[in-house]
Each structure stands twice: as structure tokens, then as C-alpha cells.
């Protein structure tokens, strides 16, 4: 019987709203836009923040990344056409970290060089990464076929390499890369493995959704034992810049990645690293990146972002709600006589409240549903045309629906209350 009653109330509401189709439609537009903007903005914000979070998570939340940067004096050395610039991280730094900082799990020193890789008649720009066999333990890189570098490769400075998956098609075409020789800067390296970037985000941080496979640098990487790189490429590089002419640089390591045993050690260790570097480096030739801090900062930014978006959406919904309330007040006063008739025929105040409240609710829920449809379409468009990641969470849909019904309740209550409390006789006299 209650089902009948609800059905009847809904039908009556629809009938009354249908009498003023255009007005009802225009009234709901406020809610439509409000809800659509909530969903669209949250989807865009969520997508952007996921993107950032994932990119950071790929760096590893227990890692502290120390990078070599060109010290500031370098740019301001006019007149000297050919000087030897010595700066950056050194093997000694890595050793000092290892010896004097407690709680370190592993240390990975890396060289990074931009080179060209040749295979048969193909030539592909690559990033050569001189690294150690335990590189996978601090990064999401995993051997997919073959193997990663080994301690033996390292000790005997073998000319072997592991190629990143993304590079395989460009460099080898349809050939099986394993066992082939790739030429880089005049030397041949045998391919012993193909590496892939595993999705670490999901396992390390359950807040983060499955990642897309585009994290990391644009250039494909080729991993070669650090010792081999040191041997073949040396440590001095000639750089030709348009302004500075050509300069010689001597850099031992491009980066040192320190992984600590547990997350709560990250910040402490970062301070130790900083202190140690400050002792041994006169020039400001390094930077320290802590993914965990970046992640936290990104999360804070997202919180503010969500708050701002939420307030904007709330304001637009408020405006929409006031519009609805305004129309409902007009409806109530237009239908004063109907209210009087219904009261004379036995309607309780409660019945009148339910009637008008359900009309308002129908309006806002209809607006909410249309808003959800429109609001879900917008992120698709943004993703498609704007090439931006967007993510519609079920939560945002529930939120939007909840908000539109709440708006209906809040802004419908007063007109309905007004309707119910009209004097039956005065309503009947109303023309």
C-alpha cells in the first residue's frame, strides 16, 4: 500500500510538473549545471592528482634520490672557452652514505648518458643508464625476458645490456632482441634481458589506482653495468652549448638513490644525507628529491583543490536550489486554491507537505540525473580532446545524487511548509 502511495505521489508530482514543462525544465537547469560541474571538476581533479601521485609513487616512497645538478657558477663563466668542470656526486659520496647513515637498505649509484644506439641500419636515441645489479630493488623496473644485470657482469665489466621494453620495436623491429648486439658509442653490447616497468603503485600504496604504462622518461633506457660504463665512456664529457661554447665536464655519478628500510626513516635519512653532502660539497651541485614528501605535498594540494572545487560547486548548487525554491514558492501561491480544496477533502498538513516536497524532489532528482549524465560526459570529452586523465569515482556520483536530493529537501521544505500552513478557508477564497 505504501508502494501504491509513493507511485501515486510521484505520478501526481509528474503531472503537476508536466503542466509547466518549460518552467520545470528551466528550473532544473541550475541543478543540472551544479551537479555536472561537481562531477566534471572532481573527475578532472581526481585524474590529475592520480597522475601526479602515480608518477611520484614510481619513484619509490622509501627512496631518497640525490641528483647531480650543474652548479650555478657554471653558467657565469664567460671568456673561458674550454674549461674542465668537475662537479656532482661521486663514488665517495655513495660510500659515505653507506658507512655513516644507519637504516639504509640499499644504495644505487647511477650514471645517465644520452647516446645513440645502433642495430643493423637502425639508429635510436637512448638513455644509457650505468647501474648496479640491485637497481630493480629501488625502482619498478623488472626483467621481463632474459635477466637483469648481475654481480658478475659488474665485476668483469661485461659488455652486456638490458633494454627497456619500449625501445624494442624501434630498435629491433621484429627481431628477437635477446642475444643481439647493440652498438653504442663505438662499442658493442650483448642484450641479455628486456626490462619492463612494473606497476609498483598498486602494491605500495593502496590509495593509488592501476597506473598507465607511461611513467618515467621519454627516452627508452638501456641498462649497462656501472663499471662497464665507467670503463667505456670515462667520466669526462664534452658538452656543446650554444652560449657557452664547448665545455668539458667531469661527473662521476648522475644520481645516487638511497632506499631506507622503513618509511618512518625517510625524513631522518634525508637530513643525514643533506648533512653529509654539505660537508663534502662546496658547490651547490646536487639536489635531493624525496618522493614521499612530494607525495604528501601532492595530497595536500589535492585536498585544497577538492575543497575549492567543492565550494564552487556548492555555491552553484546553492544558486540552483534557491532558483528551485523560488519556483516552488510561485507554484504554491499559484495553487493556493488547490491546496484549499485538498484540505477540505481531508488532506492533512502532512499530506500537503509530502505533495510539494515530492514535487521539489522530483525536480532536483531529475536535475541530478541529467547532471550526472552531462557531468560524466564532460570528463570523457576532456580526456579525448584535451588528452588529460580524468577519473569519475563512484563516490562523486553518490555525492552528486545526495547533494541534489539534499538540495531538494532543504529548498523544498519551506515552500511545502508554507503550503501546508495556509488557512484552508482563505485558500478556498483565493482566486
Amino acid at each position: 500500500m505504501t508502494v501504491f502511495r509513493v507511485k501515486r505521489i510521484v505520478r501526481l508530482g509528474i503531472k503537476s510538473l508536466w503542466m509547466h514543462r518549460l518552467r520545470s525544465t528551466l528550473t532544473t537547469l541550475g541543478i543540472v549545471f551544479g551537479v555536472a560541474s561537481v562531477i566534471a571538476m572532481l573527475a578532472i581533479g581526481e585524474g590529475a592528482s592520480r597522475d601526479a601521485q602515480e608518477r611520484i609513487a614510481q619513484l619509490g616512497s622509501r627512496n631518497i634520490i640525490v641528483k647531480t645538478v650543474a652548479p650555478p657558477e657554471d653558467q657565469s663563466a664567460p671568456g673561458h672557452q674550454r674549461i674542465l668542470n668537475e662537479y656532482g656526486l661521486t663514488y665517495d659520496d655513495a660510500e659515505r652514505f653507506q658507512n655513516s647513515i644507519p637504516g639504509i637498505q640499499v644504495i644505487v649509484p647511477n650514471r645517465r648518458l644520452s647516446q645513440q644506439a645502433f642495430y643493423r641500419n637502425r639508429r635510436v636515441p637512448v638513455e644509457v643508464i650505468g647501474t648496479v645489479p640491485w637497481y630493480p630493488s629501488i625502482s619498478p623496473v623488472r626483467p621481463r625476458f632474459g635477466r637483469f644485470l648481475t654481480v658478475t657482469d659488474m665485476r668483469y665489466k661485461q659488455s652486456v645490456c638490458v633494454v627497456e621494453e619500449g625501445l624494442v620495436r624501434d630498435l629491433f623491429g621484429v627481431d628477437d632482441p635477446l642475444g643481439q648486439d647493440v652498438k653504442i658509442a663505438g662499442d658493442y653490447y650483448r642484450v641479455v634481458g628486456i626490462a619492463t616497468t612494473q606497476n609498483r603503485a598498486a602494491s605500495e600504496d593502496k590509495d593509488l589506482s592501476p597506473a598507465r604504462k607511461t611513467g618515467g622518461a621519454n627516452l627508452g633506457g638501456i641498462y649497462i653495468p656501472l663499471t662497464t660504463v665507467k670503463n667505456h665512456f670515462g667520466e669526462v664529457a664534452t658538452q656543446t652549448g650554444p652560449a657557452t661554447g664547448s665545455t668539458m665536464q667531469r661527473i662521476e655519478l648522475q644520481e645516487i638513490i638511497v632506499q631506507v628500510r622503513s618509511i618512518d626513516r625517510v625524513l631522518r635519512t634525508r637530513q643525514s644525507v643533506q648533512a653529509l653532502l654539505a660537508l663534502s660539497h662546496k658547490k651547490n651541485d646536487y639536489e635531493i628529491i624525496v618522493p614521499l614528501e612530494l607525495m604528501r605535498r601532492a595530497r595536500d594540494v589535492q585536498r585544497i583543490f577538492t575543497l575549492v572545487l567543492g565550494s564552487i560547486a556548492a555555491i552553484s548548487l546553492l544558486v540552483g536550489g534557491i532558483g528551485i525554491m523560488n519556483i516552488m514558492m510561485a507554484t504554491v501561491s499559484e495553487r493556493t486554491r488547490e491546496i484549499g480544496i485538498r484540505r477540505a477533502l481531508g488532506a492533512r498538513k502532512r499530506d500537503i507537505v509530502i505533495q510539494f516536497l515530492s514535487e521539489t524532489l522530483l525536480l532536483t532528482l531529475f536535475g541530478g540525473i541529467v547532471g550526472i549524465v552531462v557531468g560524466s560526459a564532460i570528463p570523457f570529452g576532456v580526456s579525448y580532446f584535451g588528452n588529460m586523465r580524468t577519473l569519475i569515482t563512484p563516490g562523486s556520483l553518490v555525492l552528486a545524487f545526495g547533494i541534489s536530493s539534499a538540495v531538494g529537501l532543504v529548498f523544498g521544505l519551506y515552500p511545502a511548509y508554507r503550503a501546508a500552513n495556509m488557512d484552508p478557508i482563505e485558500s478556498l477564497r483565493h482566486e
Binding site: 500500500m1 477540505a344 498538513k349 502532512r350 478557508i425
Partner: protein
Amino acid sequence: MMRSTQTSNSAMDAAILVMKDLCKTYHLGSVELRVLKDINLAIHCGEYVAIMGPSGSGKSTLLNMIGCLDRPTAGDYLLGGRSVASLEDDQLSLIRGARIGFVFQSYNLISQLNVVENIAIPMYYQGFSEQASVQRARGLATLVGLGERLNHRPTELSGGQQQRVAIARAIANDPLIILADEPTGNLDSASGTEILAILDRLHEEGKTLIVVTHDEHVATKAKRIIRLFDGRIDRDEFNER
């Protein structure tokens, strides 16, 4: 046919409604408007009463008072032995819905609803199921001669037909009392005669009928005529015919 059991069993002689020194005063700003003054009245079950009087003499106000749409300013109004003054708003709604049927001069149908839906409104508020109320509403529409126009909107009906819908609606919950405020006031004489015939039939079925009218011809149908003048009962007499 619809002679209700309550009417025949519970004392025919006991008054269904009693008014004692009832007054109604409206306040228009600082002006006091005494619309009803010391009304003393008893109406019994099954009576057919006409209320007459010049315009502005308080007929409608009295009828609304009887129908529990309004509360007295002073004095007592007992309906079925219970004082209306002490009742809650919801109880008044219940009385209006279940015990009283209203017929208005201007029909007062709801324009977005069709004939059947209009007739079903009072049943809906008494909690009847959709099916039961629609079925009964169809029967009532047929009873007042609108069996062919069940799905018409009020605007598609003549005044007489609209008033017949209103009567069907008034008797939907099989009320004890039917109150009609100038039911033929807006109708041509032919339609008016039809309406009066229907009212007559209801009276014969045992309904208590109270009809406000200007029209002496209408009043002659009634068994008792109460004449109001300036808010007072001027004369209250049985109609010798």
C-alpha cells in the same frame, strides 16, 4: 441504496451537530468583524436543511464552521457529540475527509486531474488503495451520469457536469453530512434542476444535507430553512409543503 448503517442505528433523534452561542469574529487590522453572532442550532441525522439569507450574512462562514474548515471564536460546536474546539488539526482533516462532503459553488475541481482522479482524491487521503479508489470513483462517476467521461479534464466538461463530478467526489467516502454552498449558483436552470435531483436522491438515501442558497426554489426542496440575517439566525422553520 447507500443508507449508511451509522445513520439508522445511532439515534436518529440525537442531533448530529449542535452549536451553542457560537460566534465568529474576523479581525481586519483594527476592525472587528463579527460575522456570526450567538448561533444556536441543532441538526439531526438525515435532515435536509437550507440556509438562506442576503449576501454577506454569514452563510458560507456558518457552513465552513459546520464543515470544520474553520474554528469558532466563541461558543461551542459539537459534532457527533465531540467538541470541535478541542480537536487537533489532523483530526479535523480526518472529519472533513471521512464524515463530511463539500460541494462548492465554483465546483473546485483540480484542473490537472481527470474525472476519476478528482473523485478519488478524498479516498486517497483516507488511505484507500489506488485500485479500490479508482474502481469506486468509476462507479460514482457513472452514478452521477458521467460514465462516458471518465478521462475528461474539468475544462472539457460543462458547469453542470463539473458540479456532478464535485458531488460524486463529496460522497466518495460515504460521509454523514453533505455541505453544499450555492451548488446551483453558477448553473443554468436545467443543470441546476439535475443537481437538485441528485441532492434529493442523496437525502432519500439518508444523508444529512445542508445547502446554502439564495434561491427560494432551491430552498423549497429542503425540509427546514434557516434564515440568517447579519450573522444571526433570523428564522428557523420547517418547510410546509
